[in-house]
């Protein structure tokens, strides 16, 4: 089972190491992790996606909560939150017609096109991981030269009073 965990942490050196080391030492899985500073510069927010059964995820949350540097740990409901990932993808252009086809697919996915060359095109897509995977499947035939994905970042929908 795939879960999204949102962790508010002290914005101090070494916290990312502590969080990832906790996952490693407890044999938990990290599917993706993204970190960034929040509106309050004393805190950072980590969005971690993990694979594990109900019991494992409950244990991950408790162990994260136990960490002294974590302020708040929440499991996000997929339906009740917005989650996005950004991908940069460099796709191979082998023949002139490839270029148009790739651009059309990119347009359908509302990608931004960044770097168009004779032999490659770089696109940027911000979407859910499923949509990114679907795009990747469609362009794989042309040849993917490089991919960089950010991992998911997510927030619960609604104001604080509604959560």
């Amino acid at each position: 089972m795939w879960s999204i965990i949102s962790v508010l942490v002290e914005n101090k050196p070494g916290i990312l190491f502590k969080v990832t080391n906790l996952f490693r030492s407890r044999n938990f899985n990290i599917d993706s992790i993204s970190v960034g500073i929040t509106e309050n510069p004393e805190f950072s927010r980590m969005t971690i996606t993990t694979l594990g059964d109900e019991k494992q995820v409950a244990q991950i949350i408790k162990q994260l909560d136990k960490m002294i540097d974590t302020i708040e740990v929440k499991r996000l409901d997929e339906k009740m939150s917005v989650y996005r990932e950004l991908v940069l993808m460099k796709i191979k252009v082998s023949k002139p017609s490839d270029s148009m086809e790739i651009m059309n697919i990119a347009k359908a996915f509302e990608c931004e096109i960044h770097d168009v060359r004779k032999t490659s095109i770089m696109v940027e897509l911000t979407a859910t991981p499923d949509r990114i995977n679907a795009f990747e499947d469609l362009v794989r035939g042309y040849g993917i030269i490089d991919i960089a994905r950010t991992g998911i970042c997510a927030l619960a929908r609604g104001g604080t009073d509604e959560s």
């Binding site: 502590k18 080391n21 136990k66 002294i68 302020i71």
Partner: protein, 562 residues
């Protein structure tokens, strides 16, 4: 605000926390700290290895129930305390370890005696600090003591670069600290406690499993009241050994791999367990899946992460074990709840206990472990503190040495650190100089930290080392006999060294005791002695620890002596 060095502020901050004794070893990167120790009133105990310094602080912390302090220098000094810190973490012992570090500018340059102790220790500390300016030190010390001693206690590391120790500044001393991500105390949920009482009353075969948390929180009276009011038999984990008087009619002793036969038997027959301050370690429960079958679990623990980690809980009570049990006792007393003596489960307990006590075959040897340890119990005052090393003697102590006064038995139960018992006994003696302290030892373990004899002798911390000497790494030998078709590999210690002579070489008293009478006399002599006494007792190298629940098997599959 007074201008002072970081090292000076460290000493002042430690004194403000009530520290009057510390264990350690100096070196290049903590010399400024030692220079301040020279001027301070803190009594410094010079260990002969940093690992032992940490174990001494650990023993001191467990007995005094306030953090023990140890010092080590950077690099190898710091890596040497790693085992000591991990031991304290595994057994939730309060400790503050203070290491020197290379100067800030040298960090990351592979300097002489540089080790990344913050990174190395991360998974085995409750928290670690590395102050980067002298002004941070008092606040860090206050936070360290607060974290180490509250909630589920544990070791906290403070790694101080040498220049931070030396730098002078106007340093503030906060009177209190707040850590926003740390909430160690949770009030126990009253409705959960009510549910727990209902479950214990409606259960046909309830049992109490008292863990280390009962000892850490000092909930001895509370656990006894509940057991007596509800007539519930009490088993303990090995860590919880001695949280309930082992001569009490309701006491069954520790469960687990080398648990008492009657304890394992009754545990597996129970339908409801009140587990107080236990983390359900694999050594206690056998297999997680089998243990929780047909069993309703009431789990009381100060650490919410323990709830549901190894066992599925029916009722969870998060909070200090003593506080939770006290509320439970109060409710029982208010409602005048008490169980009748003719309760069949209690009858069953008595039968089981009598059966195993009468029929369990003991090893046939003049110095069988049971005889040796019962002799020790006979001559040792009840208030004495007992530590153990790790191995067969430890498990025999669990089986045959009854703890009568709660909270007087300590062992490296979680990490299983050979060499822990002796330095920990020295730390215990420092915490309670007025009571006898005995380390029940195997020679293999004692060998690992025996140089602490110098500390025991020179620092006037006389403890008794009670060596059950089987001239081998006995527990490994037992496993090789049991699981490896008697292919005995790397276990023979060949009666080397001579522990009587070793003791004498350090200026301690060495006695060889070769009969039960000699053992009794040796302990009596040791109790009167002003110096440490090593009692070397040659036992039978062929004796196994039985009963035995093989690893990965349920408690029902107990191997009994044949």
């Amino acid at each position: 605000m007074e201008k002072m060095s970081g090292a000076r502020s460290l000493m002042v901050a430690l004194e403000k926390e009530g520290v009057d004794i510390a264990f350690g070893l100096p070196g290049g990167a903590n010399l400024p700290i030692y220079d301040e120790l020279y001027k301070s009133n803190i009594r410094h105990i010079l260990a002969r290895h940093e690992q032992s310094a940490a174990h001494m602080a650990d023993g001191f912390g467990r007995v005094s129930r306030r953090p023990g302090v140890c010092f080590a220098t950077s690099g190898p000094g710091a890596t040497n305390i790693v085992t000591g810190i991990a031991t304290a973490q595994a057994d939730s012992a309060p400790m503050v370890a203070i290491t020197g570090q290379v100067p800030l500018k040298m960090i990351g340059r592979d300097a002489f005696q540089e080790s990344d102790i913050i990174g190395i220790s991360n998974p085995i500390v409750k928290y670690a600090f590395q102050p980067t300016s002298a002004t941070e030190i008092p606040e860090v010390v206050k936070k360290a003591f607060y974290i180490a001693s509250t909630g589920r206690p544990g070791p906290v590391l403070i790694d101080i670069p040498k220049d931070v120790q030396q730098n002078e500044a106007e340093i503030p001393f906060p009177s209190e600290v707040k850590i926003r991500g740390y909430h160690p105390w949770v009030d126990p949920d009253i409705t959960q406690i009510e549910r727990a009482i209902d479950m214990l009353l409606s259960a046909e075969r309830p049992i109490i499993l008292a863990g280390g948390g009962v000892i850490i929180s000092g909930a001895f009276a509370e656990i006894q009241s509940i057991a007596e009011l509800l007539l519930i038999p009490v088993v303990t984990t090995f860590k919880g050994k001695g949280s309930f008087p082992e001569n009490h009619p309701l006491s069954l002793g520790p469960i687990g791999m080398h648990g008492h036969a009657e304890a394992n038997k009754m545990m597996t027959e129970a339908d409801c367990v009140l587990a107080a301050g236990s983390r359900f370690s694999d050594r206690s429960v056998g297999t997680f899946e089998e243990f929780e079958k047909r069993l309703k679990i009431i789990h009381m623990d100060v650490d919410p992460a323990e709830i549901g980690k190894n066992q599925t809980t029916t009722v969870a009570i998060v909070g200090d074990v003593k506080a939770s049990l006290r509320i439970m006792v109060k409710m029982l007393v208010q409602k005048a709840i008490k169980r009748n003596e003719d309760y069949p489960w209690v009858k069953r307990m008595k039968e089981t206990k009598d059966y195993y006590r009468e029929n369990l075959k003991l090893h046939d040897h003049p110095l069988a472990a049971a005889k040796v340890l019962r002799k020790l119990r006979e001559v040792l005052p009840h208030q004495s503190i007992v530590t153990t090393e790790v191995g067969q003697h430890q498990m025999w102590a669990s089986l045959f040495f009854d703890v009568i006064q709660p909270g007087t038995f300590f062992s490296s139960t979680g990490l299983g650190t050979m060499g822990w018992g002796f330095p920990a006994a020295i730390g215990a003696k420092a915490a309670k100089p007025g009571v006898p302290v005995v380390d029940i030892a195997g020679e293999g373990s004692f060998n690992m930290t025996e140089n602490s004899l110098a500390v025991s002798v020179l620092d006037n911390l006389p403890v008794i080392v009670f060596i059950m000497n089987n001239f081998s790494l006995g527990m490994v030998a037992q496993w090789q006999r049991t699981f490896y078709d008697r292919r005995m590999m790397a276990i023979d210690l060949k009666n080397c060294p001579d522990y009587v002579k070793i003791a004498q070489a350090y200026g301690a008293q060495g006695i060889r005791a070769q009969s039960l009478d000699e053992i009794g006399n040796a302990v009596k002599t040791a109790l009167k002695s002003d110096v440490a006494t090593v009692i070397d007792i040659p036992i039978d190298p062929q004796e196994d620890v039985l009963p035995f629940v093989a690893p990965g098997t349920p408690l029902t599959d107990m191997i009994l002596p044949s």
